[in-house]
Amino acid sequence: MVNFNPRMQIFSLKIGGQAGQGIKSAGLMLAKVATRSGYNIYTYTEYPSLVRGGHNIMQICISQEEVAAPQQYTNFLIALNQETIDEHHGELVPGSSILFDNTEDFDTSKINSDITLLPIPFQELVSTAGGSKLMLNTAAMGATVALHSGDLQILNDLISQDYANAGAEMIALNQKVAKVSYDYVHSNFQDKIKESLKPLSDIETKMIVNGNEAIALSSIASGLQYAAIYPMTPTSNILTVLAENQEKYNFIYKQPEDEIAAINMAIGASFAGCRSMVATSGGGFCLMSEGYGLAANIETPLVIVEGMRPGPATGVPTWSDQGDLHLVLHAHQGDFPRIVLAAGDAQESYDLTKQCFDLADKYQSPVILLVDKNICEGDQSIPVPPSDNSIDRGKFSTDLIPNYQRFAPSPDGVSLRSIPGVGNFFIGNSDEHDTFGYSSESIEVREASMEKRMSKMDVLVKELPKQQLFGANDADLTIVSWGSNKGAILQAIKDFDNVNYLHITHMSPFPPDVKEVLDTAKNILDIECNFTGQLAELIREKTGILITNKLLKYSGRPIYPEEIIEKINSLLKI
C-alpha cells in the first residue's frame, strides 16, 4: 500500500474499461466537469501500441492547486471491466471507493475491506432510459458526478457540446442516461457522497489541453503558415489539430512521404517566407538531422518539435523517456548555432512554442523544442491564453533592396532577410557561401561565414530567461531536472521546507545562471527519465559541476512524486 499523507491534496480518479467503451472521452469530460467547477486537473493515459482492443485506463488528478503529474494512488476507481478491478484495486488507499456495474458478474472478492464498494446496475439503468450499451460511460459519469457533489448541469452542457454533431436526440438520450444514474446514487448511496467535485466559489475559465494540443494551438497563434509532419507517436496529435484547423486559419499542413521530406518542405516554405514547423519523435528526428543543418547553413528559420519516447530504434513506442537530449544537442555535422528549448508541461509547451517561433525568426535559425510523451499526451488545465497574438518576424523585408546581400555581415550575426518573388536575388546555398550566397571555398569567406553564424549564440545567450527556481532559496537539497518530471518534483517538494527545484527549460545555448545556482547548492540531486543522466552530463560539460546524486528512471513509465519523496528522504537522512 502506498504511503499517503502529503501536504498537497490531490483527488485521484481512475476510469478503466475495454478499448471502445469511451474511456478517454468520459475521462476528459469528467476532467472538464472538474475545471468548470474551479479545479485544476492533470490526466494520465496508458495504452498499449495497438490500434484497437485491450485495456484502457485514464487517471484524472484533481486539485485546488496546480497539478502536473500522475499519482501512484487512486481515490476513486470506475471499473467498466474486470481487468480494471484486477489491475488497479491495489492502488486504492483506505477510504477510497470503487464504482462498478453489478449487472455484470464482476469478481470483487480481492478488494480490501476498507474500500467502499459502489455497485450500480448500469446496464439496467441505461436500458430503462432507452439507451444502448455504448452509453455505459455516460451512466458512469452521471454516478460519479453525483457521488462527488458535482453539478449535473455542467455534465449536461458537456454532453450537449460533445454530441453536437450526433444530433438533439442523441444529446437528450445521453443526458437522460446521466440523470437516471445520478438519481440512482441519490436514492441508494446518499451516505457515500463526498465533495471532490463540488463547485468552488471562485471559478476561472480554463482550457484542458495536452502538450500536443498546446503546441499546435500556440503554433497557430504564433502565425504558423506551413507545417509538414509525418505521423509518429507521441506527437501525431499535433498534426491532427493543425490539419483540422488549416482552412479556417489559412495555413498549410502537409503530410509528406517521410521525415526527410518533412523538414526539407518546411525549409522550402520558410525560405519562401512562411513561418514553418515540423514535429516528430527521436526516430523521425534522426532522419531530419540532415535537413537540420541545412536550415542552419542557409539561415532559414524553422521550429522543430521533438517528442521523446524510449529508444533506441522502435523502442517502447507508446511510453515516455528523456533520452534524446544528447541527440538534439549534437545532431548534424559541423558547428552551427544550436538552439534547444525543453518544455516541462502543457503550459510551458504553449509558451515555449511561441518563444521558438520568435527565436527562429530573430536568429534566422532552426530551433528545437523538446518535449516527452508524458507532456505530449497528458491533459492539463491551463488559463485561456490571450487570443490576440503579436508576431515579430525579426529582420525581414519584402522591399526591393539595391545590391541586396542576404548574408551581409552584422554585429549580431543576423542579416536582413528577404524572400523570393520580390525582386531581390540571393541563394540559399548548402555549400559555404559569400554574402550573396554564391559558393565559396576561400579562407576569408569560410572564416567570416562561420564567425557570423556562430556569433548569434553570443547574442542569444545574453537574452536567455533565468531558469526557474522553485521552493526555498536556502535549501539543504537542490533538485535539478527537466521535462515532464517538473510536475512530480513540484508536488514532492511541497512536503519539504528545505528542498528546492531548478527547472531547466533552455538547453542550448546553456543558461549561465545554472552554474550560479548550483555553485551555492549544499547538495544536488539530478532527476531524469533516461539511463545515463544526460542533463547531468550537460551540466558537467558546461559548468564543471559533477552531480553524483541521481534518480534515473528508464522503464518508460513516468516518475511519481512518491519516488522522489523517498529519494529526498534518503538523501536528507530523515
Binding site: M207, N250, P420, I427
Partner: protein
C-alpha cells in the same frame, strides 16, 4: 522583360568543357528571356551534383539544397508562394538514387513544379561511379567488372507515379530544350523533362554521337494523352529507339490548385495575425 545580362552572375561556370550542363543552362536562360522569368516571379532549386552549380551562374533566387532533397524544398516553396514559377534542377543520382522516394511522391502529388533532370548516367562530381540510369555491364570506378544493376527509366517511373507532363530532351538541342521548358512550366501540374546529356569526362558510352545516332523526335501523329502508349514509349531504349519530345501529358488539377487556403492569394501574402478565442473555447 528579362534581358540576357540580367541573368549574369560574377561566377564563371566550372563545368568541364563540352559538358551537357552548358546546353541546359543556355536553354533555361533563353526561356527566362522569352518568358520574362526573373526574381519577381521565379525561383530555382537544385540538388547536389555537377548540375547543382547552375545556381551560381544564373541570377535567379535559388536554394541549393542537400543531395536528393531538391524536390521537397521546391514543394515547400510552391506551397508558400504558388505565384512563383518553381524549377528544380536535379541529376540522375540526385533524384533517382538518393532522392528516389521524393521523386515518386512528388510525381504522385502532382505539384505544379517543373523538374529538369540532368541525366548523364554517371556520377560526375564524385569523379565517375555508376548511377541509376547507367546501363547494365557499364564499367565505372564503382563497377570495375561492369555494372551488375539494371537501369531505371525516369520517364516510366514518372508516368507510373502520376506525373502529368513527362518529356525527354537532348542536350545537343538547345532550342528544343527551351521550348520544352516553356511548355513544362505552362503545364499545371508536375512536369518532368529528362534531359539526356553527355558526361564528356566520365561517360564514354553516352556521347553526343551516341545520342545523335539513336534518338528521334516524336512527330505530330503521336498521341501524348495515351498513358499506355506513353509507358511503352518510355521503356524503349536501343539503337534508334530513343524518343525525344513530350511522351505524356494529362490535364488534371495540380496539388496547389486544390488547396482552398491559397486559392485567392499565396500564403506569404496573407496576414498571420489571428484571433483564436473561438478555437480556445472548444478546449474549455
Amino acid at each position: 522583360m528579362t534581358k540576357p545580362e540580367d541573368l549574369v552572375t560574377p561566377c564563371s561556370p566550372n563545368w568541364c568543357p563540352g559538358c551537357g550542363d552548358f546546353a541546359i543552362w543556355g536553354a533555361f536562360k533563353s526561356a527566362c528571356v522569352k518568358q520574362g522569368w526573373d526574381n519577381t516571379n521565379t525561383a530555382m532549386v537544385a540538388g547536389i551534383g555537377c548540375h547543382g552549380h547552375i545556381i551560381n551562374f544564373t541570377k535567379i533566387t535559388s536554394v541549393e539544397g542537400l543531395h536528393g532533397r531538391a524536390l521537397p524544398v521546391a514543394t515547400g516553396i510552391k506551397g508558400a508562394n504558388n505565384r512563383l514559377n518553381v524549377f528544380v534542377f536535379t541529376g540522375d543520382g540526385d533524384s533517382l538514387a538518393e532522392g528516389g522516394n521524393h521523386f515518386v511522391h512528388s510525381c504522385r502529388r502532382n505539384h505544379n513544379i517543373t523538374v529538369i533532370l540532368h541525366d548523364n548516367a554517371i556520377y560526375g562530381l564524385t569523379v565517375g561511379q555508376t548511377s541509376p540510369t547507367s546501363p547494365h555491364g557499364f564499367k565505372t570506378k564503382s563497377t570495375p567488372d561492369g555494372n551488375p544493376d539494371y537501369p531505371i527509366s525516369p520517364l516510366t517511373l514518372a508516368i507510373a507515379s502520376g506525373a502529368t507532363f513527362v518529356a525527354r530532351g537532348y542536350a545537343g538541342d538547345i532550342p528544343g530544350l527551351t521550348e520544352l521548358m516553356i511548355k513544362a512550366n505552362d503545364h499545371d501540374g508536375f512536369a518532368l523533362i529528362d534531359i539526356l546529356q553527355p558526361c564528356v569526362t566520365f561517360n564514354k558510352e553516352y556521347t553526343h554521337p551516341f545520342f545523335q545516332e539513336n534518338t528521334y523526335k516524336l512527330d505530330e501523329s503521336y498521341d501524348v494523352t495515351n498513358k499506355v502508349e506513353a509507358l511503352k514509349k518510355s521503356m524503349e531504349w536501343g539503337p534508334k529507339q530513343i524518343a525525344l519530345g513530350i511522351l505524356y501529358e494529362e490535364k488534371k488539377p495540380s496539388y496547389e490548385s486544390e488547396i482552398p487556403q491559397i486559392k485567392d492569394k499565396p500564403l506569404v501574402e496573407q496576414s498571420a495575425q489571428r484571433n483564436l478565442s473561438e478555437l480556445f473555447k472548444k478546449y474549455t
